[in-house]
Symmetry: C2
Subunit: 113 residues, 2 copies
DNA sequence: TTGACGTATGCTGATATCGGAATATAATAG
DNA sequence: CTATTATATTCCGATATCAGCATACGTCAA
């Protein structure tokens, strides 16, 4: 087996920087593929492929508008990611955590001398 | 070019389900590799490899303890992911969004008849 | 129908991935 | 030193990925 298919879940879909850029851009509204590609400096086929992945995990919608196909955001799928990472919030908020880091580092340094 | 290296950033590191399981487990405290592997039903080399990736992106620390190596969480790297997804919060919270979905679906269905 | 425009798909090549098995390294005990 | 335990690394095979290019498909206008 290789890595899980990128189309299978949202975590994989947003692992790609260009796809994250697309999602950010779509917060501004609907975009036809060509304009989106120009804006983000990707090729049109490249944009189409990324949009396909995003569509398959449900992060974008598309609707036909003449020759164009307008893509828009459906960010509800990002909620689970937000919540999952939120489950770690207390670990980065608590101040003794940073102190603990410091202590750990000292211990480690001493051991490795 | 292929996909960005999984070691290069946190988004890629957490795209792997087993690595997410490891992070969740480590919220309970420090774990030696073998026990962690047993708990999550992975092989020891498998666990070591995932832990290496997590270490390289800074999501876990390790310290030596006799023959064992204890891994612990450093979840601060998850904060950017939490914040990035949080930038989409208003899009999934606003109720007109769901209404808009409904309208979009109707339009689409009508066009595709 | 033909042409032009917008978009999607197919193919190829280079590379990264993940799992498994074997083996190497590290640290302790006897 | 040797054996044992704990962990890391390496090699392998199968597969998924991403970019680039060519091309197919879809839609509209003349």
């Amino acid at each position: 087996m290789a890595r899980a298919a990128t189309t299978s879940d949202v975590f994989n879909a947003i692992a790609e920087p260009q796809r994250r850029e697309i999602l950010v851009l779509l917060r501004a509204g609907e975009w036809p593929v060509t304009e989106l590609a120009q804006e983000l400096r990707m090729t049109q086929p490249g944009a189409s492929k990324h949009l396909r992945v995003l569509r398959e995990v449900g992060l974008v919608r598309d609707r036909k508008a003449g020759k164009q196909r307008l893509y828009s955001l459906d960010s509800r799928g990002l909620r689970p990611v937000h919540e999952w990472t939120g489950g770690f919030e207390r670990f980065w908020n608590e101040s003794f955590d940073r102190l603990d880091d410091y202590v750990q580092d000292l211990k480690q340094a001493r051991q490795e001398e």
